[in-house]
Amino acid sequence: MEIIRNCSHYSSIQVAVKLNQKDLPVRVIKSAFNQDGANTIRNEKAGILWYEKRLNSVLSAVVSLENYKNTYSRLELIYKNGSSGDLTLSLSRNYQKLYNALKYHIKIFAAGENRFSHGDYSIDNILFDGDEVTWILDWESFNDKLPREFDIVYCIIEASYFCYKKYGTLKRKDVDAAIELFKFGFGELKIPYERIIQAPASYMRKLFQDNQEVFGSQIKKYPIANCMQNDILSLDNFYAKNIRL
């Protein structure tokens, strides 16, 4: 067993992969030895099962879940092939992946009376074949308490944030790409977006602040929820400066 993540991003979960005889990964195993982590793992299982139901999936990715009281969990999943989105690329270069991620999100989450959110809908947590979405990973923050637009705003603003941190700026073409994404995502949800894109980073931050109890200690893992206020203001400024409605 190969332990590839140990309580990273302030979580309490160890992530391991099991290799087959040809050294190819076949299973993902998530373990937690405390209450916080064990709850998260059980939540992840609930999220995956919900997702598979939406997909009408016949074979479940969940192999097994072991629990001891509420203090230990071990979840074994089928390993999914594919490459996740790369947040080190600029927002404009990630446009197609982001667009497809939003389209996929709307297909899975926006139908009917659904009130569920993924809670960490980043292209980093999505597997792609080329630019096409094949699978959503990391259902640890799956819940039914967030506003409908949360995942959409998070997906775009997180990509904006990483682009800004990597390149020190958001170029006009990046802002244009983000606005297109807002228009598409909010249009599908039939929510007005014009006011939000005046200061989208602040809006995102407020969503986190208003829903702190939903995330609990997991809130530490979100860069946008924890970055300096100056970064939020800078992001908003780039939007305000380059916006062309």
């Binding site: 332990i3 309580c7 992969v17 050294d23 030895f33 982590g37």
Partner: protein, 338 residues
Amino acid sequence: MFTDNILLGELENRDGIWFGPAGGYWSNLDIDESKSCLKDLSVQGARKTVEKYFPQHLDVIFSPKRAGGLPLLDPKPGEVIVDVGCMWGALTIPLAMAGCTVIAIDQTLESLKLLQQRLIDDALTNVEIVCSDLKKVRYADSAVDMFVVNGVMEWIPETGTIELKKYYGKKLAKKNDYRDRPDILQKDFLQRLCCGLKTEGKLYLAIENRFDFFYFLGLPDPHCNLKFITFLPRKAQDFISKIFLGRPYVNWTYSQRSLRKMLMDAGFRDISFSYTFPNYRSPEYILSQKGMSFYRPSLYKHGKSFVIKALCYTVEYLIFKILRLTIFAPSFIVIAKK
């Protein structure tokens, strides 16, 4: 009490702790520091006491990262696990959370008092605490499902009082007893564990690699704080240690090959090595040889300047990611069966 069936010899229970043959003292804290916090433990609880008296050790004691290697053991509820040299319970608590029946042994009473309070705070009743010299504990034959030896084997040859801050790179005021060869003591220790294991029982052993690549670049030996000593021949280690510390070099660590041989000599088989990065205490990656493709440089983050970081990143990438030279990995976690 399940300890009765597993530990041999006279044990006396005082205030919820079993006492065996007295050992020395080993702690990151000086004896006075350790004792000073005891009066607050039962009133404030373990976490608040640590925050108040030694906040610098908060992570060492409470971080879930410390249990990074436990998925390799795949512990099951009800299994009997002995945590040898448990100290403040970095692995005892997670194992108890997983429902295992844990015997936590250490020779430092002050550390065990803190562990005792942690168990009360977390309402864990499946742990028994034993204060005893680790070298003198005797186990019933085939009684234990797993032994956990996390950063302990290299300290087995040491005796007496070890207050780590005073021990690092300094001559000890009082000479300890160094009559026996370190490897003889360590092998004897492992043999006793092997006898105590049930058939198919497992040993979890975490220890530094004697040939950690960064020792060659000047990383100090974490046991004595001397540079360029760990990978030298044993006689040279002794010679240098006697000059600078006035004592022989006893914290013997091993290469993968030597460690495997020692474990086999002690009676273990099916020995599998995992390599931990940046160390076994707070690992980010724990990979086998065939899993090295998952490795990402992680040690460089500890570098103090950009130049050092860049150099370390390059070295790590080359040595571990490209060449997969695990003989130079920082430390090992070994799972061995009886």
